[in-house]
Symmetry: C2
Subunit: 369 residues, 2 copies
């Protein structure tokens, strides 16, 4: 049953036309009578014929497949590389954009695989690729880019010649810290960073400084502690900050997981959040709204990252020579309670993200350059 699939020849014969006509019927029916087309389509359906994808791809030089490459599908085991905490959101966005044009979505992990291997098993099967930021080094990226068009994610400032889609990490953090400064009048803020050399980590710290400087406050040269983007790293960071002689009013974390670790330490020391020390995160992972108090953080539009990445790819496929496009998406502050805000009165509607919170967009609106 799974074998013996019909071919275009059989459909053509059964319908008394040529294979060209059948092919035309399947692809829009340009240059043929509506009547013939109807007949062809009918017999095709009747015979349960579906064109062979490989043959189609070979002849038309289009596979109808778009690929997305992550460093790893796992959730952030290696924080030095991109941790697809948002895997589902990104994929959903990508999937929708992809099926929207009738294409299919291929996903793969790059961890430990060479560019050549990927070229063989992925690039050779797709019309284009979306590469998550640090999932691949330069040489391997080149290897893939020489085969198919690619768009990168999170390479906004770089000199890479590919289309790019990024999130405004810097503006997002600045926005959040401004909330702390302006709404809560906090002044002594500590910053817990992620791994030193990651772009996200750097950008978020920069946003932190932006806010302080804009408020006329002294801005530190470096983070108060490095939490490595992990929960336990956040714990250690908190210990080191609390042990120091500096009296802090808030601990600003470069991601939610570290904020969770920080909060655990505060709780263990009988320090109240936010009364004694406010805590904020970044990412808006699902656990954040379930903490008590719920975590004030920054939400990234990962669904949109996925869908726009695919859009960029499709554009590039359509216009191979058009100039590079770089899109930066705005983030949104998710104001919950760990910053000191009171619980809003109304109960939220069904399972929404807006569980009684206020939102502010980072000043940087979606931008194309």
């Amino acid at each position: 049953m799974a074998s013996a699939r019909a071919t275009i020849y059989q459909v053509a014969q059964r319908c008394g036309v040529s294979t060209a006509t059948v092919s035309r019927a399947m692809s829009g029916g340009a240059g043929m009578s509506v009547d013939t087309r109807r007949r062809v389509l009918a017999t095709a359906a009747e015979m349960g014929w579906v064109p062979n994808g490989s043959a189609k791809a070979l002849a038309s030089n289009r596979t109808g497949i778009l690929g997305v490459l992550f460093h790893d599908l796992d959730s952030g085991n290696d924080p030095l590389l991109d941790s697809p905490l948002y895997l589902d959101q990104v994929l959903r966005g990508a999937e929708q954009a992809t099926t929207g044009v009738g294409d299919a979505l291929l996903i793969a992990a790059t961890r430990g695989r060479s560019g050549r291997d990927l070229a063989y098993s992925v690039a050779g099967k797709a019309d284009g690729l979306v590469l998550f930021a640090r999932s691949l080094n330069r040489a391997d990226t080149q290897a893939l880019a020489s085969m198919v068009p690619i768009v990168t994610v999170g390479r906004a400032g770089s000199r890479w010649p590919h289309d790019d889609i990024s999130v405004d990490n810097r503006g997002g953090m600045r926005n959040l810290v401004e909330h702390l400064l302006e709404q809560h009048g906090l002044r002594r803020l500590a910053f817990v960073s992620g791994p030193p050399r990651t772009p996200d980590s750097i950008a978020r710290f920069a946003g932190f400084r932006d806010a302080l400087i804009a408020a006329g406050l002294p801005a530190p040269d470096k983070p108060d502690a490095d939490g490595g983007f992990t929960e336990s790293g956040g714990e250690q960071a908190a210990e080191s900050i609390l042990t120091g002689d500096r009296q802090v009013q808030a601990i600003v974390c470069a991601n939610d997981e570290m904020a969770i670790g920080v909060r655990a330490v505060l709780a263990a020391r009988r320090l109240r959040t936010p009364a004694d020390i406010a805590v904020t995160g970044f990412d808006d992972i699902s656990a954040s709204r379930h903490l008590s108090p719920s975590l004030t953080t920054v939400h990234q539009p990962m669904h949109e990252v996925g869908s726009r990445a695919i859009s960029l790819l499709l554009q590039r496929l359509r216009e191979p020579t058009k100039p590079r496009t770089s899109v930066v998406l705005a983030t949104e502050s998710v104001i919950r309670r760990s910053c000191g805000c009171r619980r809003p009165p109304a109960r939220p509607p069904e399972r929404s993200m807006s569980d009684g919170l206020r939102r502010t967009r980072s000043s940087r609106t979606p931008t194309e350059q």
Copy 2:
């Protein structure tokens, strides 16, 4: 650069051999001298040649692509259908198994798409498909199955003729409830179910009854309330249970989200968990360990579901006529604090799932029939 890719002819010519030899070299090198093979491989690498996937697929009748179909990549908007809360875990398992044999992974959502559409855009591009439980109706499933081998997820008991991989929902719930009965001596348990007709919901309620019956307690015919697998549904269920005249000691929920809703209501009513009323969930979503008290629940081996689904598919591809295989994977009770257990002494190691908890496997070990 992305154009003008070399073909096997050019490689053959440059190397002074025939295309057949090049092809042989690329596929293991059987029946040729090691020396020639080395030469071919060298010039191929030198020319940066990677075989055209479509041509290869057409000629060999193998795409080297495996597909996974979900109802939707979104997280459970429609609880009547499968909600891939575990999307990332499943995909990771599937991806590893797939990459392990050099294949690539295709993913797609079935929501709102016809079997014919899917056959066209997905089945035609893959060697086989993994279908999540209720992602497709019978007719559409048939349409796909007539094109390529498929394995289903969560159809263990059914008469569907396909290989299947399922999780032991029933045993998992039974195991958890036994913990409540035996370790905590609880007797008056309320059950909050998911949507009435979903297999998971039914199986979990059955497990609940199993435990009661095994303990010689009266078992209800139907759940105390239907929470529809959603947080707000859980809230309503809790209200109705607490309003009733029955004095319950514990509220057993068919999933974690409802448990979260239940806990919110208990908290609002100043009822302590677990002191006044214990609460348990099912699924072990990431938020569960961050609740206070942390949620006792049941963990499903979704990573393994993904990897074994692919394994089954690969087996079937190798042996098209072998008898149907149905695998049922055991779940694991994740004992945290909402059931009444005290927080274990030692601090957990780095970001592990084993955040100070005890685990018990559901009695049903992985089974093949």
